[in-house]
Symmetry: C2
Subunit: 137 residues, 2 copies
Amino acid sequence: MRIGELSERSGLSRDAIRFYERIGLVGSHRSPNGYRDFPESALPWLHYVRTAQRLGFSLAEIADHAADLRDSDDAAAALSALFAEKVAIVDARMAELAALRSELVERAGTGCPLRPDAPGTARAVADSPPKPVLPLR
Amino acid sequence: MRIGELSERSGLSRDAIRFYERIGLVGSHRSPNGYRDFPESALPWLHYVRTAQRLGFSLAEIADHAADLRDSDDAAAALSALFAEKVAIVDARMAELAALRSELVERAGTGCPLRPDAPGTARAVADSPPKPVLPLR
DNA sequence: GTAAACCGTGGAGTGCGCTCCAAGTTCAAG
DNA sequence: CTTGAACTTGGAGCGCACTCCACGGTTTAC
C-alpha cells in the first residue's frame, strides 16, 4: 500500500506517516520506483499508535516499546510484559481521573472554592490583555 | 507570598510561575519594590492547574475556563457548568482508557497481533540507526 | 559594608509532534 | 505527448510549555 492510501485509511497525514517512519515508528519497503510500500499490518499498527498516543504515551515511548519487542528473544513474553505494564499505567491514569472527577463533583456542589486570585481583590490579570496572551487553539 | 516561596510550596519552577502569569493563568500584585506578591489562594489554584493539565487540558483551555468564570454574571452557575463539562470529558477519557485496557488485555492473551511491520521481512527501520532517531526522554 | 540570596526583565533555546513548502520523479489517463 | 496526480527529499516553521541565561536591582545575614 502506498502512502496516500495508508494516509486516507488511517486518517493520518502523509507528512505524519513519513515522520513516523523517520523516527522508526512504522516500517516500509520501497518499491523499485522509490515509493514507500506499506504492509496491511501498518494500518492496525498506526491505529494502535494513535490510541496509545491519545492516552498519553509519547511517540518515543511507543517506539521504544516496539523496539523492545523486536529485540526480545521471547516476543510473546515481552509482549505480555509490555501489555501488563501499559494496563497498569492505564489503571493508574484512570484512578487519577476518578479522583479529579470526584474532586470536581464535590466542588461543583460547594459554592466556589476555585479561583486564580484572592476574592474581591483587583486582579492584575484583568489589567493585562483581557484574553490570554498566547493564541488559543 | 513571593515567587520563591510559591515555587517551593507548589513544586513549580519560578520560570513556570512567571510563564503562567504572562499567559494569565495566575494573578499577582506587585510589591512597591516590583516583586510579585501572590495571595495564599494561588497555591490551591496552581494545584488545580497542574491536575487539570496532567489530565490532558492545555494551559490555554484552563485559562479560558478561568476567564469564563471571571466574566460570568452568575459565577456559581458558570462554575457548576464548567465542572459538569469537565466531568463529562473525564468520563469520556476514562471510557477510552477502559477500552484500551481491555484491548490490551485481550491482545496480551492472544499471541502477537501487534507489529510495526510485516512478519519476517527485512525492516527498513533496522537499516537506519538501531535506536529511535529522536532522543528518548 | 559586603556577600549571598532573591527578585526583575528580555530574549534565546529546547523537545515534541507535527505541518508546509520547494524542487524534482514517476505514473496513469486522455 | 502532455497533463496532472501522487510520490520523493530536504529543510524551514510552528504551537505548546516550558527552561536557561545574562544583566541588573533589592533584601537579608553576618
